[in-house]
Symmetry: C2
Subunit: 149 residues, 2 copies
């Protein structure tokens, strides 16, 4: 799927739910969609400012909140208090492994994992809205490098 096409989807959906489509939103969404990384709010701000140096930090935060609510962006706690985001358009849901040393993030997906979670929720009568599975440890390279303690 192309960036412009994805951008159109986001724009349409936000307009439909009563939001305005401003230059800033367009820029922020375009930038987020164009990033195939797991970015922090601050990094996104920095990227946006390369196109328009006076985008405000507050607007980036507010837009991320809107996008998260609309389900276009997903926030992941990094475990050290911070958050990273990823855009979800054209991606399947997946889980993450985070390397303690090099901070690389690896994505994986396992349908059976998803099913077991649904089953566990059903047993408790819990209605799932989202879920996040993160595995922390050492990636293959950092183990090889013997950097671990």
């Amino acid at each position: 799927m192309k960036l412009d096409q994805e951008l159109g989807i986001v724009e349409a959906q936000l307009r439909r739910t009563g939001f305005r489509w401003t230059n800033q939103r367009s820029l922020i969404v375009r930038t987020a969609l164009g990033s195939h990384e797991h970015f922090t709010a601050e990094e996104l701000l920095e990227l946006c400012r390369r196109s328009d140096p006076k985008v405000s930090r507050a607007t980036v935060y507010r837009t991320l909140a809107v996008l998260e609510q609309a389900g276009f962006v997903e926030g992941l706690d990094t475990g050290d208090g911070g958050r990273r985001f990823e855009h979800v358009l054209g991606h399947e849901h997946h889980d993450h492994m985070v390397c303690r040393l090099c901070a690389s993030i690896f994505e994986f997906r396992d349908d059976e994992l998803e099913r077991r979670q649904e089953a566990a929720a059903k047993k408790l009568g819990f209605r799932i809205e989202r879920h996040s599975l993160r595995i922390h440890g050492l990636c293959r390279d950092c183990q090889r490098a013997g950097k671990d303690r």
Copy 2:
């Protein structure tokens, strides 16, 4: 397992790894072990101060970090930027469901879930140190109450 016995385990382990056993640590660990809740650092500080009003916030944070590293305490991101802790002594590992409305935390465990995670990590050569699975949504009661939107 009794509190005093658990306390002894923590003390022995910390001493063995070169830490000192101070009155503050004893108090903080006792308080954390005695809490069967998922507590924030601030709540733990408050609880400790009921016994010794001049325990410092910094000491609580530093001790939590030590305990987390030693594996006696586990931190969970609450999703709203904050963290809660739980002690792990005498508990099996388990995962969490967090209700968006009433903030209740439900614990569950599924061995197959654990195994699939290990398998996924093995495939990527990733060495697991810890993992956290959190399901967000609405608990049974909040669904019933129809409080959702």
